[in-house]
Symmetry: C2
Subunit: 189 residues, 2 copies
């Protein structure tokens, strides 16, 4: 997606060979017009999949996922983090390991909002190690729902997430695929 | 705003006389078409204010705030929570007291995204005690920016937040004002 790649080139900041900072248009400050284009592109890519819900996780996934849900005319559900989960009865809960932070956390979705009738499009801002996507897939599986595919805004293609998902037979659509962040430069695939 | 009030009546769940659950359309599952109407209404209310940025706090504020920012053609900034803030140099940080949870937390905005040139519209999903709004106001003040007003999706008018903000001379626009949640029923002002 050219507008996104252009934005990454002009506004992205390569912190090191693993980290690209996009807080000026995606995950702290957000460019709403770009989010609208991103949502429209996800909707175009998955328009024949009979999506019933878009699923993401708070917080950075919400903006692009909501625009996709708006374009597809379906509800958005965002999984929540960090709750002290004493009672699990009415929630689908899964654990996510963060390699970057070296910690484990729980995310959850209320059982009210996913059912076996649902065909779910997962949207997230980044794909790196794929642990968040796998966590959302686990929640979808617990609900007995179907996963139609995964839409990613920025994929770090030099990390193993994409292959991990592809190996499970999952359709992955990434709007920008980054081959490398070496030498302080973004190189797209 | 009639569509919102209608949704609160049909989908809202009165947990007790202080708590209204709206997780089926606002803060867990999200109705994108309703968010679009909400965003358009905020944009209409503040259209003459020369807004340069919309500011909210993660996570539940993001969806309505992004639609308002889209309609106003300005960037959205969402304040972040829960970071272990060892270095504060490049951040505006403020403390927020949650009466419901009885705890204090920090929220922050990168100094890159607010400046004295900004005229900011604050958007949030709920107004109750007003502590989040005051925290965002503190961040705006630290930045030397101006606050144009505060747009709230659901105001619990029986709690002191609105008066606290009005007493500071702040314009508060709430799309649904709830007078009472007594007897398991939502009564609008």
């Amino acid at each position: 997606m050219d507008a996104l790649k252009q934005m990454i080139h002009t506004q992205g900041h390569v912190v090191n060979e693993h980290v690209l900072k996009v807080d000026s248009f995606l995950n702290h400050q957000v460019d709403p017009a770009l989010m609208q284009q991103i949502g429209a592109e996800f909707a175009r890519l998955f328009k024949d999949e009979h999506i019933t819900k878009v699923l993401t996780v708070e917080s950075s996934g919400i903006a692009p996922a909501m625009m996709a849900a708006l374009c597809l005319s379906v509800p958005l559900v965002f999984a929540r983090k960090n709750k002290s989960l004493t009672v699990h009865n009415d929630l689908f809960v899964t654990k996510i390991v963060s390699y970057t932070k070296g910690e484990q956390s729980e995310i959850y979705v209320s059982k009210k909002f996913l059912s076996p009738d649902d065909n779910v499009l997962v949207i997230d801002d980044f794909l790196a190690n794929g642990q968040v996507a796998l966590g959302l897939l686990d929640i979808i599986t617990q609900a007995g729902a179907s996963l139609a595919g995964i839409g990613i805004v920025i994929e770090k293609s030099f990390q193993p997430g994409r292959q991990l998902l592809i190996d499970k037979g999952i359709r992955v659509e990434s709007l920008a695929q980054i081959q490398s962040l070496q030498n302080g430069t973004v190189t797209f695939l």
